[in-house]
């Protein structure tokens, strides 16, 4: 038995691999969860629905609504059975690892639709278009916050301060837009404010080697205190002067805005929302197709390796952290200048943390994070929407509000697969 055949051939055959497709434990867990959820759906939403139909309101264009009517209990029950079937298949055979994600997503969609059928079965109409519209609007700050977080974390700096960056951006946006009577100036100020907070994070994390999680928490406190202080001292007593910036008005896009259903949801918003779409694409391309993106990812995985090929590790981390802060600041601008129209104390109320959850939920990939943010935005919209609908049983809105956090908890606990951050995330680089 000689080994000196073709060196390449020899080397590529690594070792004998004993093949478990997906870990048995995970397969069983996912499968059982699907089965249980499906059964619950059949019982609660299918059987528990009021007799009658569920009416879903959609909009072809802004003023020609049309409704889709389905038998409520039947539809919900069928969807529940579909989920049960998926769960059984997962338990018995198991989907290949790649497909599991899509299967779970599909099951989730089915469950949600079943839920909506049930909620609408008591007679009210569920305005799908409105729901989706609100989802997008709720999701925008989360998407932006998540993008900011990703820029930072992919280069290896943990960013728990997204909340503080957002808050600072919201604050600066309102203040400067009011003083300058110009929304554009406000946006610029917000971006700079976010960047400044990002720079603070960068300096202390990269130069002074402070633990990045603690740093994030402290920076959040600092931002809260500073913005609260100036709000009390300046903005509240002199609201006309310092806290009435106004809001960007909606700008429907000519052709795209007229597409049935999709149009009103996506293309009849204000310019900040459109900027968000662009930003999602830009970040994706930048991270995976440009030189800067390659180097950023290298620095986040193995900074020493990057250093030895001449890449300036600390500088890249610094720039990325500041950029991340800028994007998070922009998220804050959306809150004040794109939605509410004025600043309020602690107005971000945890959105920064949901954005962080979206980053983790999405496994540090821009698309994953955006997807997670959309999901969370949908949950938020659902929560508001449900208070309008007369569901057969009134669900306390507080439980729905818990949903994003519970979901993230499940993901982090590995029910959606092991979560893997960039290898050097959180480790300061010391030569």
């Amino acid at each position: 038995m000689s080994i000196a055949e073709s060196p390449q051939q020899e080397q590529i055959i690594v070792r004998e691999v004993v093949e478990p497709p997906v870990s048995t434990r995970r397969r069983v867990t996912t499968g059982s969860l699907l089965v249980v959820a499906g059964l619950l759906a059949v019982l609660a939403f299918g059987v528990g629905a009021d007799k009658g139909s569920a009416v879903f309101g959609l909009n072809a264009a802004s003023d020609t609504p049309f409704d889709v009517t389905v038998p409520a209990g039947l539809t919900a029950g069928l969807l529940g059975l579909v989920v049960v079937a998926l769960g059984v298949y997962q338990l018995v055979r198991g989907f290949p690892r790649r497909q599991t994600r899509w299967v779970v997503a599909g099951a989730l969609v089915s469950l949600v639709v079943a839920f909506l059928c049930w909620a609408a079965s008591a007679g009210s109409t569920v305005q799908i278009t409105g729901l989706l519209q609100q989802s997008i609007l709720s999701a925008v700050p989360l998407v932006l916050g998540a993008l900011g977080g990703i820029l930072c974390e992919r280069s290896g700096v943990i960013n728990v301060a997204i909340e503080g960056q957002m808050l600072s951006g919201a604050f600066a946006g309102a203040l400067f837009a009011s003083v300058a009577h110009n929304l554009g100036v406000g946006v610029l100020a917000a971006v700079l404010a976010g960047g400044l907070v990002g720079a603070l994070l960068a300096v202390f994390a990269i130069r002074y080697l402070v633990n990045q999680v603690i740093l994030g928490v402290v920076i959040n406190l600092l931002a809260l205190g500073l913005t609260g202080f100036i709000y009390d001292a300046l903005m509240q007593p002199h609201a006309d002067q310092y806290n009435s910036p106004g809001v960007f008005s909606a700008v429907p896009i000519p052709l795209l805005g007229d597409i049935p259903v999709v149009g009103p949801v996506l293309f009849q918003a204000n310019v900040l929302v459109y900027a968000t779409y662009v930003l999602v694409v830009v970040v994706n391309v930048a991270l995976f197709r440009t030189r800067w993106g390659l180097r950023t990812r290298a620095v986040g995985e193995h900074p020493k390796a990057a250093d030895t090929v001449g890449i300036k590790v600390l500088r890249i981390r610094f720039v990325d952290t500041v950029l991340g802060g800028c994007v998070a600041g922009f998220a804050g601008a959306y809150l004040t200048l794109g939605a509410v129209g004025a600043f309020g104390k602690n107005m971000t109320s945890g959105r920064g943390f949901i954005a962080l959850a979206a980053v983790i939920f999405g496994r540090w990939s821009p698309n994953g994070a955006v997807g997670a943010a959309l999901l969370f935005g949908f949950a938020d919209a659902l929560q508001t929407g449900l208070t309008i609908i007369q569901a057969p049983v009134q669900i306390p809105s507080n439980f729905l509000a818990m949903a994003p956090y519970l979901a993230t908890l499940f993901v982090v606990a590995g029910l959606g697969g092991r979560v893997r951050a960039p290898a050097a995330d959180g480790e300061p680089y010391v030569k």
């Binding site: 060196p7 070792r15 440009t290 001449g310």
Partner: protein, 531 residues
Amino acid sequence: MKLELRGITKRFGSLVANHGIDLVVEPGEVHCLLGENGAGKSTLMNVLYGLYQPDEGEILVDGRAVHFDGPGDALAAGIGMVHQHFMLIPVFTVTENVVLGHEEVAGGLLDRRRARDQVVEVSRRYRLDVPPDALVGDLPVGVQQRVEILKALARDAKVLILDEPTAVLTPQEVDELLDIVRRLRDGGTGVLFISHKLREVKALADRITVLRRGKIVGTASPDASAAELAALMVGRQVKLEVDKGVARPGEPVLQVEDLRVLDPSGTVLVDDVSLSVRAGEIYAIAGVQGNGQTELTEALVGLVRPDSGRIVLDGKDITRSDTDDVLGAGVGYVPEDRMHDGLVGPFSVAENLVLDLYDQPPYGRGLTLNMGAVQRNATERVAEFDVRTSGVDAAASTLSGGNQQKVVLARELSRPLRLLVVAQPTRGLDVGSMEFVHRRIVRERDRGTAVVLVSTELDEVIGLADRIAVMYRGRIIDELPGGASPEDIGLLMAGQSLESAPAASTSAGTTSATSTPTGTSAGNVPTGEAS
């Protein structure tokens, strides 16, 4: 390109890592830098590569003085470095790793096609086969090293520095590497080859410079004898033997039957291994790093769950026991990475000495710690093992490597043992500490303890072992008696069985033609080879 170092001095606080080093690498020659662990080789290379700034001295390229602010400058000057611990990003492809730092850009975006073509071209030119689209993390170590070398060559390196490149290679892979280096040299590249392995240095070098304690202590030609070179490296006539009496083995203490350990993705790391170790003998497991020895020892002490098979200690099945229970059953464990797994750096020496016994009398009763007992124990052990420290309350991280290892050893040997498992016990130690550790291991054997020694250093294995097993790709390929020759062991380490090999042994010493162990032997060590 001619590379010259003149009077390079580098200090870290009060420690002088490099003192007035003069070195020249001519184009088309292999200049080997020889030195023990801790002699200052890596520091010198880091200075050369721009990672450190020298305190004194200068670097000259083709006669002109240059200053490197960072690796980028060194790269631009034509110096390429192949690091001991690969500087590769496991989640990137081979192509991405090779072009990182000098990527081709088309219209603002990465030009993937050009990059791939470049990698294929360079790979062909130097005959270094690599799969351009594979993820580096999936590749075996030998191929990873090729990628590392390609990285440097793709940047038109005129001088290539290789830092301990053979540490993780099988003898077969080492030969291939030496061929590659020779080809590069013949092509005009200057090579600076750093190693502490005499055999390779003698096989490859055109010139040899020996470094010791930060200074150049001599130059030699490859004709110098191994003993001469070793003497220069270490500073005195080194006896390459261990004083060891005859073993008197008793009953089997440890039985391992068909042990199988898998990694999380299903790869087999320990492949149906069976072995038996008797009281009063040293059973050595030799093999190149990464062939399953680490996982085997971890399974023995309960740090890793085996997939199937049995581990029996004194008749008791400990296959699925927790580490706590295994240690409590009379097993001592000296892990291979003492700072990572053996000691808690911020803890004091005293606390480290009771790391496994803190919750048992006299050190701990129920919830309470008996600080006095801990201190007393520490004072006794430090004296017994001659641990050089500023006090038993000093943090373990302030001790030198040798003293740290003594603390670990002291802890494990301070309770009655049936089995002692030591992994790489003298890695990174100076010669004096090495001798101390070897002596204590032999002493433990003579007290009737069964000893399992895992080591990648052939001299250590040959010097200490009563029986030698060689692991390759997760299996024990063969077992040899303690007096086996390095050539035989080396062949086994490369996966070749002894029967099929042509007359392999050329030096004196016993050669075993069969695969079954033939009992113990006296500690006879052939002194010709030094690595």
